[in-house]
């Protein structure tokens, strides 16, 4: 029997103090928020997606309001993997004792491998999350996330250069999410994160042009929660590796629902953009929700 208010969960071989993790791209490199609240409340932090070379990203505007969500087309702006492993992670590690997840993107298998080899040598990183699902970059990113063979190749090659747990972050922009998940699991993935954003679009009807400069972008927010939950449920019941559930999570109840769908940990994304305290608020609300639902342990909540 776990002590009251124990929010800890097992995520593969790791233990997290709670299941709540800000999702990549919605919490910077963690350090941006260290003055606002105690980062050590967080079960983990998934850092902004990094590529081999620094990237400016897409032109602005990059953001479009939607009903119950937003579209972003940031396009992987980041200072490059060397800055991540040399500056960002060591600085975060000094103030944060939880699970640090490095999110890696690329435009070729070689680039993913080179990034992961560098990240493998970075002591502060606990998990490598391989983003094969970014909808905002051309000639890569999501292409790897929509073809099971390519996803398997990336997984296999990345696993060769790191001993850290490798989680593949899956795109929802596929017809068969289970096929993608199985391909990654069979290629040696230690876990899966799902879902990334859905490819979406808004048009400014007064100006008769797309709202974001890139025309299309990734749609996220509470509107996608049922879709994310369905995919997490399907994958968690088809694969045996742990799943980090992500997509539209905005409350402690949503976290519980994701855990019941079969997630081992839960990432909170878009909600961080409207409420800087979203993850803290969710963690603080969890004990009361658990008590109301007579839940004593956040592990093993998966339903049939």
């Amino acid at each position: 029997m776990k002590p009251a208010n124990d929010l800890s969960v097992r995520l593969g071989t790791l233990s997290l103090k709670n299941p709540v993790i800000p999702a990549s791209g919605t919490f910077g490199f963690g350090l941006e928020m260290q003055d606002e609240y105690d980062l050590n409340l967080l079960g983990g932090i998934s850092l902004k997606g990094s590529t081999l070379e620094p990237r400016f990203g897409n032109p602005t505007p990059r953001i479009a309001e939607c009903r119950e969500g937003l579209i972003n087309s940031v396009g992987l702006q980041n200072p490059g993997i060397d800055a991540l492993v040399g500056e960002k992670v060591p600085a975060l590690r000094k103030v944060y004792d939880g699970c640090i997840i490095a999110n890696i993107s690329g435009f070729s298998v070689d680039e993913y491998v080179a990034c992961c080899a560098k990240a493998d040598g970075c002591e502060g990183i606990d998990i490598l999350e391989i983003n094969i699902s970014c909808p905002n970059v051309h000639g890569g990113g999501m292409a790897f996330g929509t073809d099971p063979r390519l996803a398997a190749t990336i997984t296999r090659e990345v696993k060769k250069v790191t001993s850290k747990p490798v989680y593949i972050k899956l795109s929802p922009n596929v017809t068969d999410i289970v096929a993608m998940a199985r391909a990654c699991e069979e290629a040696g993935a230690d876990g899966l994160t799902l879902i990334n954003t859905l490819l979406g679009m808004r048009i400014d009807i007064a100006r008769r042009r797309p709202v974001v400069a890139n025309k299309v972008g990734g749609f996220s927010g509470p509107a996608i929660f049922p879709l994310a939950l369905r995919m997490v449920y399907q994958v968690a019941h088809a694969c045996s590796v742990p799943v980090m559930g992500c997509g539209g999570v905005a409350s402690a109840e949503d976290v519980i629902e994701m855990l019941m769908a079969g997630a081992s940990a839960v990432q909170v994304g878009a909600e961080n953009l409207r409420n800087p305290y979203a993850c803290r608020d969710i963690i603080e609300a969890l004990p009361a929700v658990m008590e109301r639902l007579h839940i004593e342990d956040l592990n093993h909540l998966k339903i049939e």
Partner: protein, 268 residues
């Protein structure tokens, strides 16, 4: 005067998410509204900062620059440009808004010399009002150029005059003041200035930076996601590399933006 390449955030502490009560919400000019709120303004360090307003039924907040702050009173000038600001304009005295405060670096008053020029265009005049008050209390001499499309769109002219600063108006159609743009009005100034601050459309601020031979600061606008530096939605290219308008700005120096006139060479 030492040239500053970047501005420190005027940060007094953490961001604050507070409930504000609407004291007044009135239309100053067609589509231009002045919103007066009461609440905890303690996270607002000074002019050039902005707030993020949550609107019922809207997912993202709306960023609006601080026009004035006195004690627990916050004044915002905004233009109705879409569904969110339209909704805001329909809100009444006594209604409440959840607002994030303490956002952005704000203008650096200490960087200026004794004679300061403020150049605002359209809604860009808003943050210059509190800036003018800060500059005056720091003992600076202030003159203001305010540019609008036409006479009926002019905002805050009387408020600036009431501060005792010299005001020059320009209108694109010539219905008031100097006909043309703020740059045309700057040519008519007889008083010297040794530093400038500007806020308005990008094309206007670039023209002001190119025209004014002195160093200065510009407050940028960009569509934002979070407003506090985590989403990288509002990035702008600077000579120092990519910077976030919301958290590294919105105020940048002319030198940072690389907006000096080409013939100036390294002078800016």
């Amino acid at each position: 005067m030492p040239t500053r390449t970047s501005l420190e955030r005027k940060k007094m502490g953490k961001l604050k998410k507070e409930i504000f009560t609407i004291e007044a919400n009135r239309e100053l000019a067609p589509s231009s509204w002045l919103l007066t709120l009461s609440g905890d303004t303690s996270a607002i360090a000074g002019s050039g900062q902005f707030v993020q307003i949550a609107l019922p039924g809207k997912y993202l907040r709306r960023p609006i620059s601080v026009c004035d702050r006195e004690g627990g009173k916050l004044t915002l000038l905004y233009k109705v440009v879409g569904a969110g600001t339209d909704q805001l304009s329909k809100m009444k005295t006594g209604e409440c808004l959840e607002i994030l405060t303490g956002l952005g670096n704000g203008f650096d008053v200490s960087a200026s010399g004794m004679n300061v020029l403020l150049v605002g265009g359209g809604m860009g005049v808003a943050p210059l009002y509190l800036l003018a008050k800060e500059l005056l209390s720091a003992g600076r001499k202030v003159q203001v150029v305010l540019g609008f499309n036409k006479d009926s769109e002019i905002c805050l002219e009387e408020e600036f005059r009431a501060l005792g600063v010299a005001v020059t108006i320009s209108t694109a159609d010539g219905s008031r003041g100097v006909k043309g743009f703020v740059t045309d009005a700057i040519h008519t100034l007889s008083e010297p200035y040794d530093y400038f601050y500007t806020c308005g459309p990008m094309v206007m601020m670039k023209a002001v930076c190119a025209l004014c031979p002195t160093e200065g600061q510009a407050s940028l606008e960009e569509r934002m996601g979070c407003g506090f530096g985590i989403c990288y939605g509002c990035t702008v290219a600077t000579v120092e590399g990519p910077r976030r308008v919301c958290a590294d700005g919105p105020v940048f120096t002319k030198a940072q933006l690389g907006w000096g006139a080409p013939q100036e060479g390294g002078k800016a």
